[in-house]
Amino acid sequence: MTQTQSARIFGAFTTEIPASEEYLTLHFSPNTVPRRRRWGNYGLSADFLGDYFAAFFPGDTLPDSKLNQRDTVKAAVSYIANELLENAVKYNDESAQAPVSICLHLYQNELIFQVVNYADANTAEKYQAFIQQLTQADLDTFYMQQLEKAATGTDSSCMGILTMMNDYGARFGWRFQPLAQQPEITQIEVLVALDV
């Protein structure tokens, strides 16, 4: 009999995302085409999400900014969606044979990104250790520490998550759920909220 391991939750995670009138989901099919050849597609998808959701916002000027609200939403969605997809794909275990997905929900003053991927146990463990470090640290200090680390060539500085949080004010929640049928694979769901 397979026993389902319980999920681990970090940050501002909720299983009940409020209903939104506008949402869009993209699924990326699992396949064996080298990641390198598909890499450009994730950037295109992120730009598409940026363009799509920016169209819901007026071109109103924003205080202290040369960019109007529409262009700000477009660029912020494009950056965040691209970073989330890059991470989801980079740390995805293809043997799960399940699609990576990104869903973007639009609300009055907020956007919520929901990204799902599947990682092997080792990757999931390392990710959780990083999150524990991150959530216990002072964000500004940790950011500069990791930026110095990135500057010395350590590729595991996780600057993607840190720039989204520190530079864009994105709020993160995570859920790690080992699969019942394949407990060596963990489903990782990331929720990212952004004020607009």
Binding site: K66, Y79, N82, G160
Partner: protein
């Protein structure tokens, strides 16, 4: 010392001691950024004043931000080069992230226009 692809350009103007980046840079990790880094490193060798012009760079992913931080720390440790980053206040990522790069090297000049 120039790179031109469908997505981005890297141009070196020796007279102005400036490397200009343009377009959309979202390469996969430091390994893929190495050719861009090499242009920057070769160019800075000849200068005591050096500028990276980012105004036409519409998109830079976090690996690219890491590459810039790597370059800035190298220049900081050389201790002989006055470095300027020229940015645009109409490009969101530049308004969000460049000021943090300056914290790596307080003598760095950030020139927004």
């Amino acid at each position: 010392m120039e790179i031109t692809t469908d997505d981005y350009t890297v141009q070196y103007d020796r007279g102005a001691a400036t490397v200009s980046l343009g377009g959309f840079l979202r390469l996969n990790g430091m390994e893929e950024y190495q050719p861009v880094m090499n242009v920057l490193l070769e160019a800075v060798e000849h200068s005591t004043q050096f500028t990276i012009d980012l105004r036409e760079l519409e998109f830079l992913n976090s690996s690219g931000i890491s590459m810039l931080s790597m370059f800035i720390v190298k220049v900081r440790d050389m201790g002989t080069v006055a470095l300027t980053l020229r940015g645009s206040d109409k490009v969101l990522w530049q308004t969000k992230s460049l000021k943090n790069l300056q914290r790596l090297m307080p003598s760095l000049t950030l020139d927004f226009s």
